[in-house]
């Protein structure tokens, strides 16, 4: 992928906030991290923070230059308030739409939210091949939009973002 072309043609505002139930993985670390130059790469999840072996694995797989970490929602909001994300190319990955709403309620001012991967489950309906949503996810995303957040679906930088509004 031509990095300069990508940077010229798309205006990306940081920090990027993504919902992905694969957490930190190939698409995120290689697909986004390496092509856009993400730093820091943060998994923001109270659940995973408590799951020490998983959190440790996720910290290990992120290349050093991306400064990977696993932090709680509160910590992410704190870092925002301290101004830690100013002038960074940060990406925050959340496991669920509910976590995104909780992060907003904690005072994290989100401009847009990318749905990067929510995979099939029995209670979820297909919206895109990589986006399946439960009724609860749906209601939560509506709530997030009411907070003034633009919600898009996009798995990789090279694919076109699809506005969530048009899908329902």
């Amino acid at each position: 992928m031509n990095l300069n072309l990508l940077r010229k043609n798309t205006r990306i505002s940081f920090p990027l906030v993504r919902v992905d139930d694969r957490l930190l993985h190939g698409q995120v670390i290689v697909g986004w991290g390496q092509s856009i130059g993400i730093c820091p790469m943060l998994l923001v999840s109270d659940r995973v923070t408590k799951d020490t072996p998983l959190a440790q694995t996720l910290r290990q797989i992120v290349p050093e230059e991306q400064q990977g970490d696993v932090i709680t929602l509160e910590e992410a909001a704190e870092r925002w308030k301290r101004g830690d994300f100013k002038k960074t190319r940060a990406m925050l990955v959340l496991e669920t739409p509910v976590d995104a709403l909780r992060l907003i309620k904690l005072g994290f001012p989100m401009k847009s939210l990318t749905l990067g991967g929510l995979h099939y489950r029995e209670d979820r309906e297909e919206f895109l091949p990589y986006i399946f949503l439960s009724e609860w996810d749906f209601v939560t995303l509506e709530e997030i939009m009411k907070e003034g957040v633009r919600v898009f679906c996009q798995d990789l930088p090279a694919t076109k973002p699809v506005p969530f509004k048009g899908l329902a």
Partner: protein, 124 residues
């Protein structure tokens, strides 16, 4: 017999096995899994359902992908399995031809070495 599980993105694992079998014939005690359309949790339970107490080697495509993360989180509960990332053709040929001849600990080292030895550059 040491069992093999090949876990990759898309159909890489299935096609790798199909290609290897073209060279050394049909293999038993091997399963193939893809992460297509699955969350991390679903990949973990898919792998878990295919593991038992017998020694097995899980081949995953690359260090950092969801197949790798899924297997690594399972590893402590299944000490009889080894995970090798960066699966390639020579590695699998080596594994299937040597799994009955070597001790498990030697086998995984030899398989890795053969995988590396299979990478050669032809250049000016």
């Amino acid at each position: 017999m040491v069992r093999a599980l090949i876990l990759t993105h898309a159909q890489l694992g299935a096609e790798l096995l199909r290609s290897v079998e073209k060279v050394i014939g049909p293999q038993s005690d091997v399963a193939v899994l893809s992460n297509d359309g699955q969350s991390l949790e679903q990949i973990v339970s898919g792998v878990e359902s295919r593991l038992n107490d017998s020694p097995s080697v899980i081949f995953v495509d690359f260090c950092g992908g969801s197949p790798y993360v899924a297997c690594k989180t399972l590893h402590s509960a299944h000490p009889s399995c080894a995970i090798i990332s960066g699966v390639n053709f020579p590695m699998l040929i080596s594994f299937f031809s040597k799994r009955e001849k070597l001790q498990f600990s030697d086998l995984i080292e030899v398989v890795k070495a053969d995988g590396l030895r299979g990478i050669q550059i032809i250049s000016e």
